[in-house]
């Protein structure tokens, strides 16, 4: 379970100007639930993830993570170690007991087979993003945070990776919070969609997607998307 209750997050710029990035933002992600955080560019989505990850502790409010297992993150950039191969990068995050395990099935599903011994600098952006996803999945986390993981990938690959994400998520109980600005993607994947206002980001609404994931064919997704836009005209 992830409980977020941020009251305010401010940044001070180099010339001393204070900028309010996030206002009141309260939501929770139940254990094993898949939630998407959606809002316009610059509304504080990435900042919210950083606060949850504990990378920034200077904020007002409270964030509680009550999960037993490890936390994994997929950042906007791949953040792989350039001096370690793809395989080494992935095994490095695993606890010693798992570090020697067989990852070939994971590599196959992410189409990374044969690239295990390449250095990240030798990979395209799309391949590096897949390696970053593989790193997060390999850990089998109980809390998984993703920051626009499918941006800048071509649509067929993004669609395959979305399917894979759902497979991984269904195979083991994982609490997922995914940041995206792609409302369609959110409607396809999420149990709940947390909508944020423009900066300073506050909670606009929490929208439940009640249609079971298996029934979300393209037509249904479009209909759900229309419903959502009708309910919250501000999100565009």
């Amino acid at each position: 379970m992830l409980e977020v209750a941020i009251t305010s997050k401010r940044f001070t710029s180099a010339d001393g100007t204070r900028l309010q990035a996030i206002g009141d933002l309260c939501f929770s992600v139940g254990t094993g639930r898949f939630t998407c955080l959606v809002g316009p560019s610059g509304c504080g989505k990435t900042t919210t993830l950083r606060l949850i990850l504990g990378l920034d502790t200077d904020y007002g409010g409270q964030i509680r993570v009550s999960e037993n297992g490890p936390t994994a993150a997929v950042f906007q950039e791949p953040r792989l170690l350039p001096w370690r191969t793809v395989d080494q990068n992935i095994r490095l995050v695993l606890p010693d007991a798992l570090a020697g395990g067989d990852l070939s099935a994971l590599y196959q599903s992410l189409e990374l087979t044969g690239l295990e011994n390449f250095y990240p600098g030798e990979l395209s952006v799309g391949l590096a993003r897949r390696a970053a996803l593989a790193r997060a999945f390999a850990l089998e986390p109980s809390l998984l945070l993703l920051d626009e993981p499918f941006v800048s990938l071509d649509e067929p690959l993004a669609a395959r990776l979305r399917t894979l994400l759902i497979e991984v998520w269904s195979a083991q109980p994982t609490t997922v919070l995914m940041v995206t600005h792609n409302l369609r993607e959110a409607v396809e994947l999420a149990d709940e969609i947390v909508l944020m206002t423009p900066r300073p980001g506050t909670l606009l609404a929490i929208h439940r997607v009640d249609v079971p994931r298996t029934a979300r064919d393209p037509a249904t997704v479009l209909a759900l998307l229309d419903d959502l836009r009708a309910a919250y005209p501000k999100i565009g």
């Binding site: 990850l53 504990g54 490890p70 936390t71 994994a72 950042f75 953040r79 170690l81």
Partner: protein, 261 residues
């Protein structure tokens, strides 16, 4: 990975070949110049070689080379350890850096001779004072290089390591050290070149062994052939360190960079 090894060997051979040709040309130039000048103050390569062989047979050459090499190694290890610690500390803490920056600049500009003389006066004519004085001369150089290195650490990778709960050791070995490696290599390069020259001065002023002591001795006889014999043999030792230790290590450390060959 195994396909990359033969190219590395070939690269080593090629650079060794170029080096050999270059040295032979210099030797030929020296030979001709000595022939033209024809003075005892400018001996030919043959005369220098004769001294070299004489002192090698008596064992004297290796004793003095060994003593100098020991001092170079000790001062190097000391300077790298202390200089890296100071540099990384300053690179990570901006307030400390602002406060201590004038100190670094001051020590960077103290002439080596002053440090050596003061060390001998304060701590006596002993080995610890000699090695310490050399290390103190080098520490500010290492510190400013590693300070740059610490500033260049990618915060994105540090955050990644934090999220995935890397242990301190994992963090150091896989995240921090690879980023500092080019800076350590630069400090090592310039460090070894600088240190061995300062060691000679230390030996000249207050030691009774080592290449510097021998050069001082033969200076009193105006024996240029012996001075050159000792200088060149130590240069050869340092060249061997560069070719057999530093360069292969750097090539191995660079192999992840695209287009590293």
């Amino acid at each position: 990975m195994s396909t990359k090894r033969p190219t590395a060997v070939k690269a080593t051979l090629r650079s060794a070949g170029t080096l050999l040709a270059s040295l032979m040309a210099l030797l030929a130039l020296w030979f001709v110049a000595a022939l033209l000048i024809g003075s005892r103050a400018f001996p030919s390569p043959g005369e220098v070689l004769a001294v070299l062989i004489r002192d090698a047979v008596s064992g004297e050459l290796f004793f003095h080379l060994g003593m100098t090499l020991m001092r170079v190694a000790a001062a190097f290890v000391l300077a790298m350890a202390i200089g890296s610690a100071i540099g990384i500390g300053l690179g990570r803490n901006r307030r400390a850096d602002r406060f201590f920056d004038p100190w670094v600049i001051l020590f960077l500009n103290v002439p080596a001779l002053v440090t050596i003389v003061l060390a001998y006066i304060w701590f006596g004519l002993n080995e610890a004072a000699a090695i310490g004085a050399v290390a103190v001369n080098k520490i500010p150089n290492v510190a400013i290089t590693l300070r740059e290195g610490a500033r260049s650490i990618d915060p994105g990778l540090t955050e990644m390591a934090k999220v995935f709960r890397f242990s301190r050791w994992k963090m150091l070995r896989h995240v921090v050290m690879p980023q500092l490696q080019p800076y350590l290599a630069a400090a090592t390069r310039s460090g070894i070149a600088l240190i061995w020259k300062i060691v000679l001065v230390v030996e000249l002023l207050g030691r009774s062994s080592g290449v510097g002591f021998q050069i001082h001795l033969y200076f009193q006889y105006f024996d240029v052939a012996a001075i050159l014999a000792y200088t060149l043999s130590f240069v050869a030792v340092m060249l061997a360190v560069e070719l057999l230790v530093l360069q292969p290590y750097e090539r191995a450390a660079r192999r992840w960079r695209p287009g590293h060959a």
